[in-house]
């Protein structure tokens, strides 16, 4: 084991024991969809001119997005950082609009304006997709604030990386969350590195990062992200705390990313060993472990798994075709989606000059 968290079997926990085979298969399918989507995106990124900018792959961390989101209800919301493809697919966004966004097409979820770091689907309670490290942490707090203000029973899941804990806005958010009893759950996806910097070189702490929550009298927990059952159990505890007591939680989930920080990070074997990467792939791959789990439970066959993988791959390929064939945004659209009032052509939007090119 490479996680500091002792493993324990969470299959029999209340939140897991009544899961149907269909549920368990669905989790597997969703993790596979994320992985295949990203493998396809990586392949096409490298093809001349299909995409630009950054591409941060979530591969290796799929169990976190799928496990946490699997528990969410109608008033639970999700917001994350720039490594956002996994959460986007987990909340139900289609591969087509996601791939088209990567291709910078008008059919993209953000009309080609946001790119890889900025997937959004407010209709699915998904608020992005944010490029500034920890910049989303006050926004997540605001989602929780609005829920409480409106008297809704819900929670805001705000995902962040281990490197984001050293941004001031996160700490300000923790104090506000505790002071005002806001139903926000900060989920630290601790993959051990912020770009090329290991956890030890970026953060001072005692046992773990989540423990800093104690200073704000916030409950915290730590979780082994490779086990989808455990992710669900620890997340459910936080969700109930949010729903029942309107109290925040900081949940640190150990995980690992297989690829570089972004596609640009070719030298990622400079700051971590090939052997370390292989060890994770061999022993801690969330998909492999979940697959083995379901096989051992006697509810999954190799054939079923291959079928799932193939359909995920097919879906990804289809999304590439969709993206590739989709039209580019028009030049005129560059100044659209800047101001609501202008886009809607309201009286306010028609009054005075809003744009200053002549």
């Amino acid at each position: 084991m490479d996680t500091a968290v002792a493993t324990k079997d969470f299959a029999a926990s209340p939140v897991n024991k009544n899961l149907s085979t269909e549920d368990k298969h669905r989790f597997l399918r969703e993790m596979l969809r994320i992985r295949c989507f990203e493998q396809a995106s990586l392949k096409w990124y490298t093809k001349e001119g299909k995409m630009g900018g950054f591409l941060h792959l979530y591969i290796g961390q799929e169990s976190i997005a799928v496990g946490t989101v699997s528990l969410l209800g109608p008033n639970d919301h999700v917001i994350t950082a720039y490594r956002d493809h996994g959460h986007a697919l987990a909340v139900g966004m289609g591969m087509n609009e996601c791939m088209a966004e990567l291709f910078g097409k008008a059919t993209g979820c953000s009309k080609g304006k946001g790119g890889s770091m900025h997937f959004f689907a407010p209709d699915k309670n998904y608020w992005g997709g944010h490029g500034i490290v920890a910049g989303q942490t006050p926004l997540g707090l605001g989602l929780a604030y609005a829920l409480k203000y409106k008297g809704l029973t819900g929670a805001a899941l705000c995902f962040m990386g281990d490197g984001a804990v050293n941004q001031g806005s996160y700490h300000e958010s923790l104090n506000l969350a505790s002071l005002w009893d806001l139903p926000v759950i900060y989920i630290i996806e601790n993959n051990g590195y912020s770009m090329g910097t290991s956890l030890e070189r970026s953060s001072a702490f005692r046992e773990c990062l989540a423990q800093r929550a104690e200073g704000y009298a916030i409950d915290w927990d730590r979780c082994n992200g490779e086990d989808l059952y455990e992710v669900r159990v620890k997340t459910q505890i936080a969700l109930e705390r949010a729903h029942r007591q309107s109290r925040p939680t900081v949940l640190e989930i150990d995980t690992y990313r297989y690829y570089g920080h972004s596609v640009a990070d070719a030298k990622h074997k400079m700051y971590r060993s090939e052997e370390e990467i292989d060890r994770y792939k061999q022993n801690h791959d969330p998909i492999a472990l979940w697959k083995a789990r379901l096989v051992s439970e006697g509810i999954l066959t190799e054939e079923q798994f291959d079928e799932m993988e193939q359909s995920a791959r097919a879906e990804a390929e289809a999304s590439v075709k969709f993206a590739d064939e989709s039209p580019l945004p028009s030049e005129a659209s560059i100044t659209e989606d800047v101001y609501f009032e202008v886009d809607r052509n309201t009286e306010a939007g028609r009054t005075g000059r809003h744009f200053f090119n002549y």
Binding site: S110, H118, G129, L139, G142, D337, T351, H354
Partner: protein
Amino acid sequence: MPKLTYRVALNQAFAEEIERDENVVLMGEEVAEYDGAYKVTQGLWKKYGDKRVVDTPISEAGFIGMGIGASMLGLRPVMELMFWSFAYVAWDQIINNAGCVRYMSGGLINCPIVIRGPANGGTNVGATHSHTPENFLANTPGLKVVCPATAYDAKGLMKTAIRDNDPVMFLENTLLYGEEGEVPEGEYTIPLGVADVKREGTDVSLIAHGRAALTALKAAELLAAEHDISAEVIDLRSIRPLDEEAILQSVRKTHRAVLIEENKPFCGVGAQISSMITEQAFDELDAPVLRVSAIDAPAIYSPKLEAVQLPRPMDIVAKVLKIC
């Protein structure tokens, strides 16, 4: 019409909008139990309670960002920065989250938030507390920027800002809170993007915003009384959207313009207006467009000197005399 202070006019706008829309919530440091550091929110917490008027810790990045997040879900937070100068600890939240999230989401999200507070020098509180970032904010497509000079404008523009579905940066002035002006009874609003001709004139256009508009009015009186020069005073009121037509109309009439602002000169709003006039009305100009701004240094503390650092009527008169 009854006379109200700029402070009370704003206070009325808050009260009326709180009653009109249950999603309007006021937040900021000391805005509730303490009635506001400058008493702009006086009595509102007592009247509307903890839910609608909320005191925050000293965490601008945290609570401004929180307000932006809450506005994405449909609240209409009216966030007070005790001083706009403190926006600099929340700058990323304002520029990147309020300013860019609509665009990056392809228009799926909008942030109906107002961020407000005083932005001015002249009160001897030193360099760090005297910033006037209207030019920074207006440089940012996605944000709207309003700088009212009178009680009437402050109330009418604030009500519009709160109802606007885009993020509106509302820059007030501690030196104006106590200034009285006529404010009609009952409901009225003033659209953003409409300048106000605060004085008609024929010889030169004095174009300004915020407190500088009042300084321009005083200068116009001096010009009329002592130099027989008829100055027109255009109060921009909102910087983005900008009422360009009003500016150009005035320049087409007077063929001369002096731009006044209390900000530092380099890349101030005056620079933008000047370049716009030159580009749009070059042939109408009988003289160079001149600018009056604060003396180009951080805000000095020394009370007597800070009064000199900011534009005075005499400074405007001197510039006008160069071109008239």
